[in-house]
Symmetry: D4
Subunit: 152 residues, 8 copies
């Protein structure tokens, strides 16, 4: 029963998001990866989000580029916290993705992290911080990571 669901809109997003799973693993957090397009397959996206909590998911991580609706659409179907990763786009660099993810209306937040590869990893670190609030093992692993960082 995975603790985190990583969702992306397209198989082409997998290379940049691979680091996300690796960071989760380093903290002993279980996860699953799904490819669901918010626009092309809205029913499947909805089913995934609606059933996430009862399947034990605690945090959703969604990566998307352009009119990057995936994180917001997931957020509209679940009350779990959703972390959004704005992916770079070739023409606009990812500002489009950033705006489309972060500027959510009141009541429906998406926890947005850095654009691109930095964000893929930071989504996992943020998920770890959230899960650590109730999971002693993850907290210890995360604190050990931070201590190592501080030593440079």
């Amino acid at each position: 029963m995975p603790q985190v669901g990583i969702v992306m809109g397209s198989r082409s997003d997998e290379p940049v998001m691979a680091a996300c799973g690796e960071v989760l693993e380093s903290f002993g957090i279980s996860y699953e990866i799904r490819v669901h397009s918010a626009h092309r397959a809205p029913e499947k996206t909805r089913d995934y989000a609606v059933s996430a909590r009862e399947r034990g998911i605690q945090v959703l991580i969604a990566a998307a580029g352009g009119a990057a609706h995936l994180p917001g659409v997931l957020a509209s179907w679940t009350s779990l916290p959703v972390i959004g990763v704005p992916l770079a786009t070739s023409e606009l660099g990812g500002i489009d993705s950033l705006y489309s993810i972060v500027q959510m209306p009141p009541g429906m937040p998406v926890a947005t992290v850095s654009v691109g590869a930095w964000g893929a990893r930071n989504a996992a670190y943020l998920a770890a911080q959230i899960i650590a609030l109730q999971d002693e093992r993850v907290r210890a692993a995360y604190d050990a990571y931070r201590a190592k960082l501080a030593e440079g």
Copy 2:
């Protein structure tokens, strides 16, 4: 049986979108207005979009600001053409809305018009152009409008 459905995410969008209905009326195009938040009420938004065509709607016009997902979410639930109006936001001026509406992924277009008040009216003109392709009365009305414009 309305030909056009105007949808907005919030009642506060009504003043700027009023002009949209007025333009449609000037061409004798029937329409209905709905307030459906893509995020806060995703189920109602979906039901509206899914049933639009069978109720006789030919074109959807959706206005939204910020992470303006409404037009894209409607597009994901229907195969009718969706026209998106990016509304201004107080902090970012509407660039956020524009990117969130126009940068749709392949297969799922939103016909985006100008930001704000210009777009509210242009959405109606565009709907008229589309309906005019099969409705002689609307075509005549639209052509008369264009002839009047050309005279200055």
Copy 3:
């Protein structure tokens, strides 16, 4: 007698716009391709737009970059719906093209789609949605495409 006219400002735009024609073909929509610079050859551009409807064209698709006036200029000479594709530019990434196409004044809309390669394809999908309103064959083909998308 083609249903769609694809116009671009320069032969160098053909590679990115090739996908547009392919998508139209996949729905059985006939089209023609023209290279007309709005600025360098304004008379030819005008003649093309003015005669488009009587030649059976239902939708114009225009692609341009930089001060991308071509879609708006076509729109000024015809009352057919015009779809604009903002092409990327090497220095500004395509924001210049996007603004030049989407920010049309009231009365003269251009249905703007995504920047670059995504937009080249989305212009065709949007044209198919518009033509499907009156062409049962295209509607069936487009709905089949959407059903396939939804299956992922």
Copy 4:
């Protein structure tokens, strides 16, 4: 013992952040408000962050404008999740604040929400979603809120 610490860089940020506290209260979440400038009073900022967890704080919310370092500086001193609210600035509209908060380097995420007043409220909703993972009472309150939203 408050569950959430709301920190802002200046007393002048209090009006926009008042809504944040009101939303937390509506879910029965306890909180405290502090004014600590990351730059002018770095020692106090550090002491606050370092002691936050042992004082029972589960989530920090930090609001700042311009070179909005406060959320990131707090994140550097604690392993609690930090939610950042980019406040509007009079000259640049808040894009400066948004970039300064969201573009955190790998290992050190800030959960960024919308710019300005929307973000002040969304920070509280996001905190509620996070706390709800382990607090049944908050979860019930949040789910009730979402149900009410969905009814429009």
Copy 5:
């Protein structure tokens, strides 16, 4: 027989462009003012541009906002130098107008000046510099102006 033609897309542009005429007058340069929308009245715009040189016009000044095609459209119909004034827009501040005017393709330049009120005046100063190349009286007047400026 006016030396300069000032063209604007809408009567609402007249207040900001009034300063343009005043500057021209201060140098003894004759001018006429026309309101021609490039999009709404393309035929009249074309007729004006095509006949400008034979009517003695030496420089065209065109002001427009949004997808500000007017300067470029005039440039496409005449070989006279065209000066473009990007007018401010309420949502995007005038960046849209600037890009739409300045980013002209090779072969078809528009001499672009500052956005808004500064540009309305600078268009006239630039026209004076151009006309001064062949008109001793204007050159003397312009040089006197510059000498006065230099004295502060």
Copy 6:
């Protein structure tokens, strides 16, 4: 005695500006090329600008990138028309150069053309349009060029 002076801030700008000279040559316009940094060698830049008119120069073309002051500095030392070419910069794409050149204060215009390679050529076309006002031979050459363009 050259009619046009092409000035650039650095030898590294020569490749992109080579096309400028070629276009001038194609119209039989004589020119000279100078490398003068507005900042590093302000005295030489001043001397060049101050003496330009008496040496027969009619139009100055200045290319620069970043805080691209060269065109404006030349304009401050001469009353000849100055055409500015905003060169691309590797980090900001040329928006910095564009703003630094176009946003001149009232009284001191720079005739700004497109960013980068398009602008290098358009500066020459604009210079030709200006010189053609008083030089029959250049006018004929330019009109011939335009006629050829119009034929596509």
Copy 7:
């Protein structure tokens, strides 16, 4: 004999720059204020910069908006450190001023501070930090200020 020279391009910049002088005074730093337009009065601007060091000036502060060349032009005429304050512009918010001041080419830095009112004050604080390196009295005053800040 003033230690700091505050220069602005226009009398209209005085209100925002008044705070700059007040901050300098609070540290006992003497200063003078001059209005010199880099473009309109280049000779006076040059004379001021060239003579600044021998008159005892240690730091120049220059405020400008739009194509804000004043700080860079001063820097080109003196080897004293120049601090640049990007002033807001009504259409572009001050991004134009920021780029025009900060993006100086190698060899010719301008020490750029925040846009607008924040920058007017920060220019004085930065000047105080620089002068404090060699002036014990200013250092003591500045450190006292920082200690007071830290107390909140």
Copy 8:
């Protein structure tokens, strides 16, 4: 005892910052290089800044990208002048870094220089200008450099 401390957030910034040290050396200015992440190792960053002055450092140069807090964090811990170099980021080009560094709140300036490689060198030139105020040898070296520049 070094006069300048060059600090960067990551070893990966060393290639672009190498030029900074070379320029300092060319003026006979001693320096040290440190890698301290403001976020990952806040305690070490603080210790370095707090002790800088007593170790004889006169100017700090800090380079960072993204949410580039390093210069501002150093400034919060010391009253020495801090020069900030905004490094390019792959997705946003360095605008994020620029805003995060330059938009410091009143009382806490960072002397910001150009983005990327230009800024790496300009930070050293600016440090030389500041140190030259009290170090005759550096002043002579810097003036010699400027004289050489002026000769082109």
